[in-house]
């Protein structure tokens, strides 16, 4: 296991380098220099040339990439000329907020979707199953923006039960404690995730329920509760482990729309702003973070699978 993890980490580092090289080259091709951002739209060719020379933007792009990686290894993600702050401080300001929003949504989604999926499988083709399926399909088909707007209109603007915007606190502790402001953004993300997770869970549960060992367990007289908990749940959750691992980076990216709608500053919004501003260094840093999270999510999922299912051996 340790050897496997070490090998995976080694491969992951190579993948990260590959991703960074690809993204750097791509960004460099469309946006070779931040000269106009720094110097203003009035900058003439001579001024731009002088800026590029002074700051190394006229070096070959591989040399610039090497310089970037060197800075990266020293913890320097570059500078945002548009926002006049270092990329590291920009990310530090918001990553915990995004992590909280994503984390709470993911936990709630798992806690609700798994039993819901099991219920639907056990009680399939009943009224309860049909209702849950209908709601899941409706929510899943709905764009996240639309769902959020509906929740805001009904629960914030009409009923005044919750705030129309996410927490404006700049501290994570403040965000965690502000349930009045965070309920709707969390609900928006959670509902959509439940809709998809519960469908997966229903499907895998139905597969497991058809297995012989379930029939044997029932034939032995085991209470249904124990059949579901000891035999069904553990086996049906295996695909969910992979799904959860791979959904971590998606949740961060999916946050963009939720953050924009609920006035909640997070990583997704930082990325979107950087995209509009062609804020080179922020785009690069965000992409690397996304790649890192994907790799970590994948690795965690693989390891979790071996823990959940001893039949799986990592080789």
């Amino acid at each position: 296991m340790i050897g496997y993890i070490v090998r995976r980490i080694g491969v992951s580092i190579l993948i990260l380098f590959g991703v960074s090289l690809f993204i750097f080259a791509l960004l460099h091709a469309i946006y070779p220099s931040p000269a106009i951002d720094v110097l203003g739209a009035r900058a003439n060719g001579a001024l731009i040339k002088a800026f590029n020379k002074q700051n190394g933007f006229d070096d070959p792009w591989l040399v610039q990439y090497g310089r970037y990686i060197g800075n990266l290894l020293r913890g320097n993600l570059g500078y945002s000329y548009k926002l006049n702050q270092s990329v590291t401080s920009l990310i530090n300001e918001v990553w915990a907020r995004s992590a909280w929003l994503s984390g709470v949504s993911l936990v709630l989604s798992v806690v609700i979707a798994i039993p819901l999926g099991v219920y639907q499988a056990v009680r399939r083709n009943t009224i309860g199953d049909y209702v849950a399926t209908g709601v899941a399909f409706s929510v899943y088909a709905m764009p996240v923006f639309f769902l959020g707007l509906i929740l805001i209109q009904i629960f914030a603007l009409d009923l005044h039960w919750f705030s129309f915007e996410g927490s404006q606190s700049t501290s994570v502790v403040g965000v965690i404690g502000d349930w009045h402001a965070m309920t709707l953004p969390v609900a928006t993300l959670t509902l959509l995730t439940i809709a998809s997770f519960s469908r997966y869970m229903r499907s895998t549960s139905m597969d497991v329920l058809a297995q012989d060992y379930i029939k044997v367990a029932r034939a032995k007289g085991l209470p249904e509760r124990l059949v579901l908990l000891r035999h069904l749940l553990r086996n049906a959750c295996l695909p969910m482990v992979t799904l959860i691992g791979l959904s971590i980076p998606n949740l961060l990216a999916g946050n963009l729309i939720t953050e924009t709608l609920f006035n909640f500053r997070g990583l997704g919004l930082l990325f979107y702003t950087a995209l509009q501003n062609v804020d080179y260094n922020v785009l690069l840093a965000y992409t690397l973070i996304g790649a890192l999270l994907t790799i970590i999510g994948n690795l965690v999922a693989d390891i979790a699978l071996t823990v959940a299912d001893p039949r799986i051996r990592l080789s």
């Binding site: 800026f51 006049n84 702050q85």
Partner: protein, 647 residues
């Protein structure tokens, strides 16, 4: 207006050395041996020949009764976070948010050149009296008013103006980009041969050559924001005060470098004692670097006009227009905006808010690239009849109705019809080329083109004679080229698509593509990006905000730093040069008139503006103040010092 606040708006770029939103003073502004007040005939009648659409709502009179204080919450649009506090804004940080919403609240410019919606001076808000001219307009003198002082009790003196001047020179020596309003070789400081302070309140500038007094006052010295020479003359925190900045450029540079480092430290804006020395109506009491939220509290020593007791002002940033709209519906902000796309929903807000929409003083256009040689485009577009035909294909009233929801005004040249300016030419009030595809077709046919409706026209009569296509256009040349437009806001694309659609009906083929503002400015910009000169024929990125003396110097004279499409017309060059150098205070009117008829780009209608975007401004009905202070919001001018609560 459309403004780059970055991001979500049409972009406006300050014209020719002027801070983006300073308005022009009129009659009282000039007094010299050779100048006279602008003639009233230069002011266009608002109703002459064009529908004056665009105004939405109205500004109520100031409430009488007790003036209560509180905290006014103001919605800050997406991407509007200030990123620079030193009152010498860099090119990178330049935006209406950084300058007007933030900087000007603390550090006032010498002249306050807007009065409500009108681009005219409000003398009581100017730090200096109007300048006097001598020596054939080569020498200018102005005196500082005695009622304004710094918040630490120091009077604002001529030394503070000189301090600004020498520090600006130090900044520009490091990089011309260190001051967004700087144009090399032009105006302040390059045309100032010497500057002196004969006494504590008087500043005299001797210039290298005679200038147009109106232009110099409104576009150049009007931009000056005095710096506190006794408080900021440091090269280190807690260091010794440097006094030889005027005579020792190295020391001036040290001061500038120190202040720049402090200005880059956003998290210390509210706590740094440097930034607590202000001459404006407000001081900064809180600033959140991660969000751009900030709070202003009244500067009790402010010497200008204001409400009996000023309220605090809290700028609340929003991540999207939707989130801001929800805040208005919820009633949790006092001052906000509604983008033009939401104008039909205004009625849901007017029970709680007053609303007002007015066009701002500026212009939007499609830039033509006179340097693009692809398929002889340069030889096509330099023909006036082609540009006239293109103008005939634009349906301004239709765009205002369909895309602006009625909240916009027509504009036919670089000086719009509204707001009224003393420099609006007579030609600006009537569309010289009204919407008429048949007129466009007739022009093309009359000049040797075979018009193929819904196809592509070709030149069938090459040559330079009457009825022929013109110089440089061989037989068979097609009227087909690419047109790029920025995608945000959507109204830009909507206008361009309709225009291209109309063009197709007379056989002009425009191949459309879209991009974002930053890419467009970086690449469809001949002075900055000569290598892409043949890759674009036309580009719509937005437009420019007029300074109150609305010369297009730098934009439509060749060569100009913002002459994106290399337009170069000797008559235009001469008129534009006269605008900034002749003694005629209304010289700019002739420039505007000529450009209106020449159409160096396709001038487009102006949407109602405010908050750096096309919008209707709203404010809580419990807030009152001078009507001009609310009207000014449409010009991106902020005067919350006049506001008070009525309950």
């Amino acid at each position: 207006m459309f403004q780059d606040g970055r991001r979500t708006r049409l972009a406006r770029v300050g014209v020719a050395g002027a801070a983006a939103l300073l308005a022009v003073g009129i009659a009282a502004c000039t007094s010299s041996s050779g100048s006279s007040s602008p003639s009233s005939s230069s002011t266009a009648s608002a109703g002459a020949g064009v529908a004056m659409t665009g105004q939405v709502g109205a500004v109520p009179d100031m409430a009488t009764g007790a003036e209560k204080t509180g905290t006014v919450t103001v919605a800050a649009p997406p991407n509007s976070a200030p990123t620079w506090i030193l009152p010498l804004v860099t090119g990178a940080a330049d935006s209406v948010f950084d300058v007007d919403e933030f900087d000007y609240q603390m550090y006032r410019p010498l002249y306050w050149l807007v009065n409500g919606v009108e681009p005219t001076e409000t003398p009581t808000m100017s730090l200096a009296n109007d300048p006097t001219w001598s020596n054939g307009d080569k020498s200018v003198t102005f005196t500082l008013k005695s009622n304004y002082k710094w918040s630490n009790g120091d009077p604002i003196t001529s030394a503070d103006v000189l301090f600004w001047f020498y520090e600006t020179k130090a900044a520009l020596k490091e990089s011309p980009a260190n001051w967004a309003a700087y144009t090399p070789g032009l105006g302040v400081p390059d045309e100032v041969a010497s500057i002196s302070a004969p006494n504590a309140t008087t500043v005299t500038m001797k210039l290298t050559k005679a200038v147009n007094p109106t232009w110099f006052m409104e576009d150049e010295i009007g931009d000056i924001q005095p710096w506190p020479s006794q408080a900021w003359n440091l090269d280190a925190t807690g260091g010794k005060h440097i006094t030889d900045w005027a005579t020792n450029p190295a020391d001036a540079k040290k001061i500038y470098d120190y202040l720049t480092v402090q200005s880059k430290s956003l998290s210390t804006y509210a706590s740094n004692p440097l930034w607590q020395v202000v001459d404006g109506p407000y001081k900064l009491s809180a600033f959140t670097a991660s969000t751009g939220a900030f709070t202003l509290v009244p500067n009790t020593t402010y010497g200008g006009p204001h409400a009996t007791t000023e309220s605090d002002v809290q700028f609340v940033p929003f991540t999207s227009d939707t989130a801001e709209y929800n805040a208005l519906v919820d009633g949790s902000v006092d001052v906000g905006y509604v983008p033009l796309t939401n104008v039909p929903k205004l009625s849901t807000l007017t029970s709680k808010y007053n609303d007002f929409g007015y066009t701002d003083f500026g212009w939007n256009y499609v830039s033509y690239n006179f340097g693009d040689t692809t398929a002889d485009f340069n030889n096509i577009i330099d023909k006036l009849y082609i540009r006239q035909a293109l103008a005939h294909l634009e349906d301004e009233p239709g765009y205002i109705h369909a895309f602006f929801n009625g909240a916009g005004g027509q504009a036919f040249g670089p000086v719009p019809v509204l707001p009224k300016s003393p420099f609006t030419p007579a030609t600006a009030s009537t569309n010289p080329y009204p919407f008429s595809p048949s007129a466009a077709s007739a022009l093309l046919k009359a000049n040797g083109w075979t018009v193929v409706p819904n196809g592509t026209d070709t030149c069938s009569k090459p040559g330079t004679g009457t009825g022929e296509c013109g110089a440089g256009i061989p037989a068979g040349t097609k009227l087909a080229w690419n047109v790029d437009y920025v995608t945000d806001p959507a109204v830009i694309g909507e206008q361009v698509q309709d225009w291209a659609s109309q063009a197709k009906t007379v056989g002009i083929t425009m191949n459309l593509s879209s991009t974002n503002f930053d890419y467009a400015i970086a690449n469809y910009n001949d002075p900055s990006s000569p290598k892409t000169v043949n890759k674009w024929a036309m580009d719509d990125f937005g437009g420019f905000t007029d300074s109150t003396y609305p010369t297009t110097f730098g934009v439509f004279n060749g060569p100009g730093s913002e002459n994106l499409g290399d337009y170069n017309d000797p008559t235009a060059n001469s008129l534009i040069t006269s605008s900034i150098s002749s003694p005629n205070p209304s010289a700019v009117t002739s420039e505007a008139s000529y450009l209106t008829t020449q159409q160096p780009g396709l001038f487009q209608p102006n949407p109602d503006g405010g908050f750096g975007t096309a919008s209707i401004v709203l404010w809580n009905k419990t807030i009152s103040g001078s009507p001009q202070s609310f009207e000014g919001l449409t010009q991106d001018i902020w005067n919350p010092e006049y506001w008070f609560f009525t309950k």
